[in-house]
């Protein structure tokens, strides 16, 4: 087995990891700051993919159609997220976890039915522009050029979130709110506005992830349920609320999956759940989480 093959498989795992990171980072961010376990996060991701399709459909005659559709879908979904936060989510901030889960699960069903009404039940397909339709060769091994873009988006989002949380004033407030909402509130900073901002940001990332996923295969109902478990695995391994943890865990899950396909294809998916169970046993708060967030 030569090095170029190992590298190709590594890149493949990295692209899967970045896709998972894009989905899981919004989930982790919302939980980390707001303590809301958004079960509907993957369904928002799916709506993002459908929105991307709609924008692409309108712009498909232009060479930039797909590229512009991706941010437009993310922004549109963020707007939808903002409305949902104002109308529904903010009413359960102080409720118990089961009630939050019930509401967000209800959102899964409502959004699923809305997708059926708006886009129908048939699969949607986005044609990739020529720039990302053919492979690139890395050390002699072909690699789907679109996944280079996926990896780039993953890294940009990771760096962007890190910069936002560590280097901006708003980010400092957000991090302070994670530790003591009361103190931040006492300083005259409106907590509800912070929460709205974070929820909208989380949903924006979900929309971006969905839009990035859209040109990979076909877009269809039920995709969200297939991905939500893996996204939760990533968050559990990384530690609830830890962005760095989510990033590292996504790469671990992506690489474990990719290399197990190479060496033990029958056990690829099982291995992810074994890793998740192992982490849950030895470190219930995840690799980068804290014990109070188990």
């Amino acid at each position: 087995m030569d090095a170029s093959l190992i590298f190709a498989q590594f890149m493949s795992g990295l692209s899967r990891g970045m896709m998972l990171f894009l989905i899981a980072s919004g989930l982790s961010l919302i939980f980390g700051v707001m303590n809301i376990l958004n079960f509907a996060h993957a369904t928002f991701w799916l709506v993002g993919a459908y929105l991307c399709y709609s924008f692409w459909y309108l712009l498909q005659d232009h060479s930039f159609g797909m590229w512009l559709s991706i941010p437009l879908a993310a922004l549109s979904l963020a707007a939808i997220g903002w409305i949902i936060e104002m109308v529904l989510i903010r009413r359960v901030y102080k409720r118990e976890l089961p009630e939050q889960l019930l509401l967000t699960y209800a959102l899964v069903l409502v959004l699923g039915d809305l997708i059926k009404i708006v886009w129908g039940v048939e699969d949607k397909l986005i044609e990739r522009p020529p720039l990302v339709a053919s492979p690139v060769f890395i050390f002699g091994m072909p690699f789907d050029s679109y996944f280079i873009f996926v990896i780039l988006v993953g890294f940009v989002v990771a760096i962007g979130l890190w910069w936002f949380l560590k280097k901006t004033r708003y980010g400092h407030i957000v991090r302070a709110a994670v530790f003591s909402r009361e103190m931040v509130s006492a300083l005259g900073i409106p907590i509800p506005r912070i929460y709205t901002g974070i929820f909208v940001l989380g949903i924006f990332i979900a929309g971006l992830a969905g839009a990035v996923q859209a040109p990979v295969g076909s877009i269809t109902l039920g995709m969200d349920m297939a991905v939500v478990i893996q996204a939760f695995c990533v968050v559990v391994i990384g530690g609830f609320g830890s962005l760095l943890g989510t990033f590292v865990a996504a790469i671990i899950v992506g690489e474990v999956y990719a290399f197990s396909i190479l060496f033990w294809p029958q056990g690829a998916l099982v291995l992810i759940f074994i890793v998740t169970a192992f982490i849950l046993i030895i470190r219930p708060w995840g690799l980068f989480g804290t014990p109070d967030r188990t």
Partner: protein, 410 residues
């Protein structure tokens, strides 16, 4: 007085009681259940199936329904491509909606799960899309009829073609990729077993089993390329198949490794019309363009296009046939009584869009064909179709009866 009462009771029994005794009344609606994957992995195929069923029902109801006096009432349910949901919906269709037959299903796992339920409640079951041979081979139910070439028949068709190609091209090693569920496993296992028989010199290097619903195949693609096989055999369906083929094409996979005989149904030909690699050797179950010489097919395509403004896929063809098979069963039985229809269909010869075909008595499998061809553009259609189409007839490809008897004895 007693005599008069006796006469009244006798008249009632003669006029009214008979229909009750045979469990159906003149003018009684025929409740027909549909348990298909409106959402989930199978949604791509099932939308066409549901539309074709609706069309067939409209046509039959325009003439008064079954036997001209039993209008069909449709009850459509979503199995979500999940066996537990499919069974729940099937039970609800039977117990609440009192359906006499259930058409379905996309996933073979769903079909296998529904089969005992239909048998328990004595309801006819025609899973017109799912095609694992285990639906009719083992745990046989006399209520289940199959109008799709099953996984063995499809595998045999592929193997006949591949064995021929392997000889010609000097291929010696291959790998497989199949969705990890009932149909994928069944098709892949049959293909490998048949290749062992017909081309024992071919060596299986590795098997890959992506989960059902997989969206990213990159790791599989590079892992398969690393094996450097002479060819790859795939059993991936519906939206998974689209993702797989789209990503494999972006890797230049099909330019490097021959991929003969994978399922490329009319759905894939239409949906991927721009991106599908021309020259691929594909397999399908019921392409309409293979039978336009059959008047029933020509009419169906015309009516389907007029109603839905698109061409019908394999799945539409087979679900449409399922309704008409049921109609012919009812006509042969002279009744909508399920027991009589079930018996009437046993070994029956029926008219379908794919010509006149017969059910084999041992497993209620229709003698339908499998089709292999080369994906190519055709000026008659806005999407590629198959050229050099080879039709492998049902009786040439189905499992010998002795093997079925043996499998059931185990």
């Amino acid at each position: 007085m007693k005599f008069k009462m006796t006469i009244v009771v006798c008249v009632f029994v003669l006029l009214g009681g008979f229909p009750f005794a045979s469990n159906c009344l003149a003018g009684e609606a025929y409740h027909l259940g549909v348990d298909l994957a409106i959402t989930g992995t199978g949604a791509l195929y099932c939308k066409d199936g549901v539309d074709a069923i609706k069309l067939a029902v409209e046509e039959i109801n325009a003439k008064g329904g079954f036997l001209g006096e039993h209008p069909i009432k449709l009850f459509i349910r979503d199995s979500h491509t999940k066996p537990d949901v499919a069974v729940r919906e099937a039970k609800d269709l039977i117990l609440r909606e009192k359906v006499r037959a259930i058409l379905g299903t996309y996933s073979s796992a769903c079909a296998v799960a529904i089969k005992p339920v239909a048998q328990e409640y004595k309801v006819l079951h025609i899973p017109a899309i799912s095609n694992s041979e285990n639906i009719t081979k083992v745990n046989f139910s006399p209520y289940t009829y199959q109008v799709v070439p099953n996984s063995y028949m499809q595998a045999k068709a592929v193997v006949l073609g591949v064995a021929e190609l392997a000889k010609k091209k000097g291929w010696t090693e291959y790998v497989t990729i199949a969705s990890d569920y009932e149909w994928g496993r069944s098709t892949q296992n049959n293909t490998v077993a048949l290749l062992k028989q017909l081309a024992p010199e071919l060596k299986l290097k590795k098997e890959f089993w992506p989960r059902l619903g997989e969206t990213q195949f990159t790791s599989y693609i590079t892992a398969i390329m690393a094996q450097k096989p002479d060819f790859v055999i795939g059993s991936v369906a519906s939206k998974d198949n689209i993702a797989w083929m789209k990503q494999a094409k972006a890797y230049g996979f099909f330019d490097k490794i021959p991929y003969p005989g994978s399922l490329i149904s009319v759905s894939e030909l239409i949906v991927q019309s721009k991106g599908l690699t021309r020259g691929l050797i594909g397999l399908c179950r019921a392409p309409f363009f293979a039978h336009l010489d059959v008047p029933m097919m020509a009419d169906f395509v015309k009516n389907f296009r007029a109603k839905y403004d698109r061409y019908p896929s394999d799945w539409a063809v087979m679900e449409y046939d399922a309704v008409y098979v049921l109609k012919q069963g009812v006509e042969k039985a002279g009744s909508i009584d399920t027991e009589k229809v079930k018996d009437a269909l046993k070994g029956a010869t029926v008219d379908t869009t794919r010509g006149q075909l017969s059910f084999r008595e041992i497993d209620n499998q229709l003698s339908c064909s499998s089709y292999i061809g080369v994906v190519a553009d055709d000026p008659a259609y806005p999407f590629p179709i198959y050229h050099d189409l080879v039709e492998v007839k049902g009786p040439d490809s189905w499992r010998p009866e002795a093997e079925i008897v043996e499998a059931r004895a185990k």
